[in-house]
């Protein structure tokens, strides 16, 4: 006897979901796997151990990790400001947060490069005062990825902060806690899972980001060449197998990292009694 559901439409919606998942996600990804199967394990290994490929993996993941970390911190502060304090122009500011979502990434990349290059508005000041060059260096990649990742953090943390019961803070204060203790022991544990989600989203997006990065990165092999760019380069050289091998590896690493972040989230939630 088929199980009956209170909500009608279980079968068509499940069917649609599976169809969508297969057509848009699973088939292209399995094609990637399939294509890379043309390579023997030795060939696959050769491609991956190539110094230039390894350098690009390092650049991509390290810069995405740093950028997501910074975006998580700044995003938290921005979400906090937006939720907690009234100030003029708040709505406009709130709307601006989403701009990186909507802006064509290439436009963002060109603008960022123009501003942060050694002769650019901000780039010049930084160059003169700190002697640090931002654009066309790995640092430039981090800057672009922060720009791209920030709204992910803000938009995941904001609703959780809005729901946070401020009476808990008052309760902590009435029990003798100072502001720092209240923040660390009461607010942070309640907001941390959402911040981790934001971090994971920003990181995942950062690893795969192409458009905004290539204009500011300088794209020096071994130094500031990101994995997506290397894939394009391989494709342009008709090295399809090489491109898919790198692509597949990236897919696996990203998947494992996201799994790790999810496990971390689960652990934080469990420690804070939310599971």
């Amino acid at each position: 006897m088929p199980q009956s559901h209170i909500m009608p439409g279980f079968r068509p919606t499940l069917g649609f979901t599976l169809f969508y998942l297969a057509l848009i996600v699973l088939i292209p990804l399995s094609a990637l796997v399939f294509k890379s199967m043309q390579l023997s394990l030795d060939q696959y290994w050769d491609i991956l151990t190539n110094a230039r490929v390894q350098a690009s993996f390092r650049v991509s993941f390290v810069s995405a990790l740093i950028a997501a970390g910074i975006a998580a911190l700044f995003g938290f502060i921005i979400a906090w400001t937006l939720v907690r304090y009234p100030f003029p122009g708040k709505r406009l500011f709130d709307a601006l947060i989403d701009l990186p979502f909507a802006l064509p990434t290439a436009v963002a990349g060109i603008v960022l490069a123009a501003i942060y290059e050694p002769n650019g508005w901000i780039g010049r000041i930084v160059m003169d005062t700190l002697g640090v060059q931002i654009a066309y260096k790995p640092l430039g990649i981090v800057f672009a990825l922060i720009f791209i990742g920030l709204p992910f953090v803000v938009r995941t943390v904001e609703p959780v902060l809005q729901e946070f019961d401020t009476a808990m803070e008052e309760a902590a204060a009435s029990l003798g806690a100072n502001r720092l203790q209240t923040f660390i022991r009461i607010i942070l544990p309640n907001i941390l899972p959402a911040t981790l989600t934001g971090f994971a989203l920003a990181f995942a997006r950062g690893v795969g980001e192409y458009g905004s990065v290539i204009f500011i990165a300088g794209n020096m092999p071994y130094v500031s060449e990101i994995v997506p760019l290397l894939i394009i380069t391989k494709l342009e050289q008709y090295d399809y197998a090489g491109a898919t091998a790198i692509g597949l590896t990236m897919l696996i690493i990203s998947f494992l990292l996201l799994l790790l972040v999810n496990a971390l989230q689960w652990w934080v939630r469990r420690c804070s009694g939310q599971l």
């Binding site: 008052e170 309760a171 009435s174 029990l175 003798g176 309640n190 804070s272 009694g273 939310q274």
Partner: protein, 347 residues
């Protein structure tokens, strides 16, 4: 610790939440701040706690001015209306919080904290819940944990905001009694906010009636009930029948045994139990008949209808013990005569 409030005023925009409140609460009392919603009672409680600042006036705890002291320095225990338990901590950690955030010099050892938390859990009779999270508790349990948490820091004043507001009726009844006993045991000066006059009468040793940001009356439950200061308090506490002399009630009231030769006001309030219902000697001329009655347990509430002078019927409520009603053997529609034993007069 005694609490003194001098000229406390607070405005929210154009709305005067509190208007020149002066109040003296001696040590060890269990005081109810009673009033309809929006009367400023919660604001007053939060000002005493230091969670809110008064625009004007002073708050004195044990004679020393704490008006500018933040909440954490006031040595108060505050129980929030929706408990505000820390969701991410176990019941044990919730109660231990106040002890663990103390500075290193004052902080008790972990063993002492263990001991104290378990003592408090025993006090609120919930020791078996130590490892649960707040989301896993019932309303009544949360309430008691919130109280235990507030008591952990040994406050000299305990403030409770609508402590029974979010609980269902039977749990509320138990907790009221329990709170009274607890206060008896600890003897810490306590103030709770409520809009429920029955709750205030049942729990408090002193009641402060608030309305529109002003204190209408302060006194023991008996004083408030038996001699209300004014029209508002009389209406707010318990049931009352309202008779206005100008509406032609004077003749009738005189007949019911209230002298109006020397009226003390223009409005008479009569408690239902102060009306004695009798079989009339002359049923044809009795102006009142029994319309309906309700069984309230030990007491019967009679709904009487009186023919008005202008043709409009008014409803009067009277109450009497069960046995007395049975002896009278009244039926719906029977004419009765009334005797008013006591009335409060207001202008």
């Amino acid at each position: 610790m005694s609490i003194t409030l001098n000229h406390i005023s607070k405005r929210f925009g154009n709305f005067a939440a509190l208007d020149n409140i002066n109040l003296e609460i001696p040590e060890g009392e269990l005081v109810a701040l009673l009033g309809p919603s929006g009367c400023g009672k919660t604001t007053l409680l939060r000002i005493i706690a230091g969670l809110e600042q008064a625009d004007r006036g002073q708050v004195l705890l044990n004679g020393s001015d704490v008006t500018d002291q933040p909440v954490k320095n006031r040595q108060i225990g505050f129980v929030f209306q929706h408990y505000a338990l820390f969701r991410h901590m176990t019941v044990f950690d919730n109660i231990a919080f106040g002890l663990r955030v103390k500075s290193r010099k004052e902080r008790p050892s972990e063993a002492k904290i263990q001991e104290k938390v378990h003592a408090l859990l025993n006090l609120v009779q919930l020791d078996w819940l130590a490892d649960r999270f707040p989301d896993q508790l019932s309303g009544g349990q949360r309430q008691r944990i919130a109280l235990a948490r507030a008591l952990a820091v040994e406050p000299s004043v305990l403030l409770l905001d609508e402590p029974f507001g979010a609980l269902d009726a039977s749990v509320r009844k138990d907790l009221r009694l329990w709170l009274r006993h607890l206060h008896h045991e600890l003897n810490v000066t306590s103030i709770f906010v409520t809009h429920d006059q029955e709750e205030a009468m049942e729990v408090a040793s002193q009641i402060v009636v608030l309305n529109h940001g002003k204190i209408e009356q302060k006194g023991s439950p008996s004083e408030i009930y038996d001699s209300p200061n004014n029209d508002f308090v009389s209406r707010f506490i318990g049931h009352t029948n309202v008779f206005q002399l100008e509406q032609g009630d004077s003749v009738w009231l005189a007949g019911a045994g209230i002298s109006i030769n020397d009226p003390k006001g223009i409005i008479a309030h009569v408690r239902p139990h102060n009306i004695q219902v009798e079989k009339p000697q002359d049923p044809a001329n009795a102006p009142v008949y029994l319309k309906d009655w309700q069984h309230l347990g030990a007491i019967i509430r009679l709904e009487l209808s009186k023919d008005g002078t202008n043709g409009k019927a008014t409803t009067i409520f009277a109450e009497m013990p069960n046995e007395q009603f049975r002896e009278l053997a009244l039926n719906k529609g029977d004419r009765v005569s009334l005797h008013i034993k006591h009335a409060h007069w207001f202008n």
